[in-house]
Assembly symmetry: C2
Homo-oligomer: 502 residues x 2
């Protein structure tokens, strides 16, 4: 085949796959935001049919032949930067997926979908014993996949690479070691501090409609493009980039907690800004997305924590927030700032503060390593879990529902995903340090509500690249060095020593 | 191939096509109800990819072979009623579609999508001359399709059959002749009557949110299942049955017109009740839908006009409506009933009353016949249009925007569709007469808000059959005779002679 013809066919096939993904993504958004409940089973089946077709295209012989042709030196050498990366990424996925026998994968899909449903019940019933057989089978399948994919440095490395390409256990040990060493004593010192912020300033009842209006206001301030996106409600907030002009986020309004939807919105808004500002030259390709889970999370955390929980931000926006809730939040910006930054070791990851959150992740990382490289059995996990919570956070779950059963991830087979969250925090702090260097008036801008230059800086350096560069390439290009955990620890030390007067 | 194997493969292929249709339907719903505008182009492309794939499956050689096998006597004779009908319907579509060369069809799709966009502009600019070349090409394409499909009794019959299977020009001439003969003089007598209802009782400003609450209330009264459907807003109201458990309708709230959303909701609610109550044994097949455009429209019109514009209905619900709008609608149920039934010849079909609406349709029908069997040219249409409006309705368009350019249908190539609307009115009146015979207390039930038995009667006799029976089979089974226009004319005569005291 002529190389030009191969390239044209390849791009067309990629675009077709992307079309399936876009419409499937829409169906998931719909199921989570308001599809009638009696339609869910049928819709899931329909989505299953389309997903299978999309997968079939991705692992088709045609795809194999096109990739082989395009990787021949005469073709590959002449590809544009975008096409080369597209070929590389697609080939990686192709090879990965072709190694799994379709029947085995089908069996695994059924297992995890049953396990997710069962997990929900098991969590409600605090029934780890009932859930354990599912978990054991999922671990067994995952181990078979690791064997089929090929073991990298360690078995767990093979899993990590799915979510954070290039990341390894060795690297994470270094990164998370650095974190743990600083954060465990810092959290302990904070707990002992006599200067505890006053949480009661957040008390009150907050009409969902007013919360929604403030969420829309803040998104607008951040530069969220409402002609290319929307905000809805769902039980579990999420962001989804359906296409270049359609990025949707959700939040959840709690009547007695104004902070939940607020920071949820800013978080998902950060994911959305990334997706909304990917370069249009990547549209219609599978590179039109975030480059990794960790980098994606860095953008949500940057906006949620580094900007959204900063003092300058609330110096500018606290009055606006107050004006949405007459008679409530009877305090000043400073007390509000302190209250939304309360650090408190807790049992539940998704409710954790910005600091201890990282320890929740490190615990999961260490346990996942033990499962795949340390011989830990599913039966041992509750005990290991509880011991680590005691050691790192000084708290102990009363039961498995608030312990080892709390997260959905393992029931879906997503081993290797958790580290992304803490990586996100680290990337975010490192990007922020670079931004401070390059934009000396960054905090004055935040303090006067000029957030667009912040978004533009991120667009220029991160967003527009989509998946064109790897996480490692991005962090080195933007910050001048590889990922370095001391940016996060320095940031946290500085921020919390001040708040807690340590 | 074994016949059992052929049947299994056929059902699987049908289910696959249905899955595509379901997700494509969701994407259309989304584009009309709130998709971000910058995402529309990309979404349209993605939907195009999936539509093409679905079409490819429907006309595939595999489909041809399975149909051929299942139509052999040893297989066909042993099929269940559902499977036989499914084979017949699918074969009809298959043969129809296989006759159109794919490139020709592709060209036509591009033309009509451009024409629809251009029509919108032409209507705004009152520019029939600009639109005419599009219309000419669409007529040309349609004529080629008629030749490829094969001319039935008349050329226009071939078009009618797409929307109302089995319907012919000869039959419509008889039906519409009967209508026109009665309705033209009746409308004239009404215009002369001194007993004109007082429209001013409808005046006022009506908060959209209160209109929405009343719409939800009425849908609930009708037996709309909100676990299997939802109500949203869109510029052009519509109903869409995505699947057995997911039927969605939309309406549009106008601040200064409470009747618009109200009757729009009841109308779309009627379509929705049909879709929500199709027998579950048809789920996952292409028979899980209304049997024809005309029968579908009969259900929306039955609820909107025969029930929703009846005196007993408002004796029950007028107080409820008033209570949603304190200080407005300061009148009684009887005056309200008369006001929502004002008959007035007008230029615009979609704003027409229940009586003259039929004349708008007859005009379009007669013009379409002239185009395909009478040699009328696109250039002649404005003049023909205006002359017919003058003759049947006594009104004359000031310009083409409120004349021949008013409807979107022709720009999309939907010749043969218009008659469905008037057929719907005729079917509805004939069904209502059967219901009155079989349920002598029907109007007492309506008058006391017991609408569920009405819905159940329709479910038992019409809804649950989906597309298992043809329109002709349904009307004969339910009413004991073929479609007969005198039910509609009798109903209208009786209702309006009383209101206008003729
Ligand atoms: Zn996130
Ligand atoms: Zn309708």
């Amino acid at each position: 085949m002529e190389k030009a013809e191969a390239l044209a066919k390849f791009r067309e096939l990629i675009k077709k796959i992307k079309s399936y993904e876009e419409v499937i993504g829409l169906a998931y958004w719909d199921m989570r935001t308001g599809a009638p409940k009696r339609g869910i089973d049928g819709r899931s089946e329909a989505v299953g049919v389309l997903s299978a077709e999309s997968f079939r295209l991705a692992v088709s012989d045609e795809m194999g032949e096109l990739l082989a042709r395009l990787r021949e030196p005469d073709a590959y050498g002449n590809l544009s930067r975008i096409d080369r990366r597209l070929v590389d990424e697609t080939a990686k996925e192709y090879e990965r997926n072709r190694r799994i026998p379709p029947e085995l994968y089908q069996e695994y899909v059924v297992l995890t979908s049953q396990a997710e449903a069962f997990w929900e019940q098991a969590k409600a019933d605090n029934d780890y014993a009932g859930f354990r057989p599912y978990l054991e089978r999922i671990i067994e399948f995952t181990n078979r996949f690791i064997d089929l994919w090929g073991v990298k440095g360690t078995r767990y490395d093979t899993l990590l690479d799915q979510y954070e390409p290039g990341m390894t256990t060795a690297e994470l040990d270094r990164l998370f070691g650095g974190l743990r060493e600083k954060l465990v004593p810092l959290a302990a010192a904070i707990a002992e501090s006599p200067a505890q912020p006053d949480r009661s300033v957040l008390a009150g009842t907050f009409e969902p409609e007013a919360q929604r209006r403030f969420s829309l206001f803040i998104l607008k301030e951040m530069g969220f493009d409402f002609d290319a996106g929307r905000l809805d409600e769902s039980v579990h907030p999420f962001a989804t980039g359906l296409g270049p002009g359609d990025v949707r986020i959700t939040t959840r309004y709690l009547k007695d907690d104004v902070a939940s939807a607020l920071f949820g919105t800013i978080h998902e808004g950060g994911h959305a800004l990334y997706e909304q500002n990917i370069g249009s030259e990547l549209a219609g390709t599978t590179l039109h997305t975030g480059t990794s889970m960790g980098i994606h999370e860095s953008q949500s955390r940057f906006w949620e924590n580094i900007i959204g929980r900063s003092r300058p931000f609330w110096q500018r926006y606290f009055g606006e927030l107050q004006s949405h809730f007459p008679g409530r939040l009877n305090t000043d910006a400073e007390s509000f700032y302190r209250a939304i930054n309360i650090v408190e070791p807790s049992l539940i990851r998704i409710e954790a503060d910005e600091l201890t959150y990282n320890l929740h992740i490190i615990i999961r990382y260490e346990i996942e390593k033990m499962i795949f490289d340390g011989g830990a059995k599913a039966a041992d996990l509750p005990e290991i879990w509880n011991a680590k919570y005691k050691e790192y956070l000084g708290v102990e779950p009363k039961n498995d529902a608030e312990g080892v059963l709390q997260d959905v991830h393992w029931s879906g087979g997503a081993f290797g995903y958790f580290p992304s969250y803490a990586l996100g925090n680290m990337y975010a702090a490192q990007f922020a340090a670079a931004m401070e260097r390059e934009m000396p008036d960054m905090w004055e801008r935040v303090g006067s509500g000029r957030l667009i230059p912040i978004k533009d800086w991120l667009t220029e350096r991160i967003y527009r690249y989509g998946k064109l560069e790897t996480p490692g390439e991005i962090v080195r290009r933007v910050t001048g060095e590889p990922l370095n955990p001391s940016y996060l620890t320095d940031y946290l030390e500085e921020k919390y020593r001040e708040i807690y007067r340590l």
